[in-house]
Amino acid sequence: MDTDLSSQDRKDLDKFIKFFALKTVQVIVQARLGEKICTRSSSSPTGSDWFNLAIKDIPEVTHEAKKALAGQLPAVGRSMCVEISLKTSEGDSMELEIWCLEMNEKCDKEIKVSYTVYNRLSLLLKSLLAITRVTPAYRLSRKQGHEYVILYRIYFGEVQLSGLGEGFQTVRVGTVGTPVGTITLSCAYRINLAFMSTRQFERTPPIMGIIIDHFVDRPYPSSSPMHPCNYRAGEDNGAVYPSVEDSQEVCTTSFSTSPPSQCVFTVTKAHFQTSPPMVTDTLKVPVMGLAFSHQPAALGVGSADMGYPVLFAGGLNAAHPHQLIGPGKEGGVPPVPNQPAHGTQADQERMCTPLDGVHYSAATPSSSEDTETVSNSSEGKCGSPHDLLETIFIRKVGAFVNKPINQVTMANLDIPFAMFAPKNVELEDNDPMVNPPESPETESPLQGSLHSEGSSGSSTGNTHDDFVMIDFKPAFSKDDILPMDLGTFYREFQNPPQLSSLSIDIGAQSMAEDLDSLPEKLAVHEKNVKEFDAFVETLQ
């Protein structure tokens, strides 16, 4: 027996590596969907579970992976990489992790392909399942949705780690030696975020201040687009991805404890979406150390995988002569993935709902049920009032307020930085010095004028009625449905009405009066000079 890999072993190994790569991508992307994954164990082999693990296949992800691989396999210098990045609703993006499936030159010629390599690849996938929950990006991905989304990108070739910033850490998931090289699976992840509590994302602070190091222009412009990592169930109209050229092969493994001896291997391939499962191709090749048989599997629903179970044997201690296995019926139907096809188009970089395009909504404390997406009105146009939501609430009259204010209208604005308003209250738009507070009729959505009563100097100054403010979320406050909450209190507290004694009108008035009345007062005092003198003398 020569030490070179037999052609059958080579074929098997290539197949294992290919499907291992596809399953790796599935595990990584599914771990960043933001949802808890749950698959069922099945005691009887179902015919489509590679590596004896129930890992669902999201069609779009498989499609992308196959596209990236383009028929090649990971080899020395050609690694398959899955890049996970975060993209905020502002459009800023940041690479979080790079998962690399690499091959190096260190070969293990002695290892049995169909048995040991297969089982070790299965173990490596389990390790990947565990490790994907442990890196910082997992917790971020569980909280994605409103402020940011997680995107993935698959590329093949050289690993590009420069986007991860300085001081990134690596974790090795594991290695599997094969006769053609050693497969290594590892992850390099950014650690800047590790020090940032994920709670900050819940409070929506200005994300700009947190992204320390990111490239907006990628140093290596890549041809593969980014894809979002989450999707809405049911939104897709069942788009079926075109079947890729090679068939969707499936695998049921069967192992043998017989020693290696004369054996026979038959393979059946069935193509995607061909109707009845058929044996289209049978090949019998004598192979050392392996025993195979095939049988057509009863197959499933819709675009479910079709294929064949392959039975393997590993040479072991029992001294039984090799036997061919008759085509018994394999139980069960391959599990059809419950998750529908990807909810958004795969071809362009896009954020999925609720953040389509560049729209975003400012969730406000007083109208959390009614957030609407309004287009970005940074140009300063007077927004169409019907786009704005208004909530009206009664404002309590404080002491010393001379004019009772009956109502204050709040308008919720969708302006740039609305989400980050506590830090951006000093925006030029809102500075009354730059943009004098407007009279209420215009009700410009952008004028975050902090009116105070009477300061405008206008007539009777009921300018308070339409009180246009930037909406903001103060720290530690929740999105409450109640109109009176910390945010509202804060707003009011910031703009108390003027004390009546300090109002300019009255002040001005009294001074004028004082001046006028001065000569009279002087005359009166002069009359009483003698009394004053007597008084002074008593004091001395």
Binding site: S43, T252, L316
Partner: protein, 236 residues
């Protein structure tokens, strides 16, 4: 906290299994209410790697393997999530063992220090009247130190810190698993119960037993509460 310590019992690697049991030690410091989740996270992660699908033996010498499903578990008292095998029976068995450990830790005579061990073993049939031998081939020991916290702020910090520590432990476990060291040979049908626990209906872990010890305040394990959850003796 110390990372995994490695020690080998006598014998070179590749020798007969009786001579070669690798031992790994993990240490964690947790708050009382975190004990259960932390132990389950570690034990489930180990068992995920040490479980296969159910074997179905066919005509002599060949077998097929069922499928192992997985599911995510979020911890309530720790900022942490882990993956476990989708098997309610296995989860129940682990929860029972961890529950007993937790109760023992809380009990009197304990200053909050203890350890729980997960041992994988093979059975070697002996002739009557000798009972079967259990030969361990891998031993995981998790040392636990229970801390008491004073206020809510400390608890919050502890949530995060323990979550980070558990992440490190998972990485350590995975590192050990991927060394691809000794694993029992795949058994024939007659031998399968000597290697695997075949009592579960959906998955098949290697034969394992869980035991624990509580150290009292003197630091010695005077109360050696060695409760064994040995499935085979129960079957007998």
């Amino acid at each position: 906290m110390v990372g995994p310590g490695r020690s080998r019992c006598c014998g070179p690697s590749g020798a007969a299994p009786a001579m070669n049991c690798r031992a790994e030690v993990l240490e964690v410091s947790v708050e009382g209410r975190q004990v259960e989740e932390a132990m389950l996270a570690v034990l489930h992660t180990i068992l995920l790697h040490r479980s296969t699908g159910k074997f179905h033996y066919k005509k002599e010498g060949t077998y097929s393997i069922g499928t192992v499903g997985t599911q995510d578990v979020d911890c309530d008292f720790i900022d942490f999530a882990y993956v476990r095998v989708s098997s309610e029976e296995l989860d129940r068995a682990l929860r029972k063992a961890v529950g007993e450990f937790k109760d023992a830790l809380r009990g009197s005579g304990s200053d909050g220090m203890g350890q729980i061990s997960l041992e994988f073993y093979q059975k070697k049939k002996s002739r009557w009247p000798f009972s079967d031998e259990c030969i361990p081939w891998e031993l995981w020991t998790i040392k636990v130190n229970v801390v008491n916290l004073a206020n809510e702020q400390e608890r919050q910090i502890c949530r995060e810190k323990v979550g980070e520590k558990l992440c490190e432990k998972i990485i350590n476990i995975v590192e050990v698993m991927n060394r691809h060291e000794y694993l029992p040979k795949m058994p024939t049908q007659s031998e399968v119960d000597n290697v695997f626990d075949t009592s579960l209906k959906d998955v098949q872990p290697y034969l394992y037993k869980i035991s624990y010890q509580i150290t009292d305040s003197l630091g010695t394990s005077v109360t050696t509460t060695m409760r064994r959850l040995i499935k085979d003796t129960l079957a007998l």
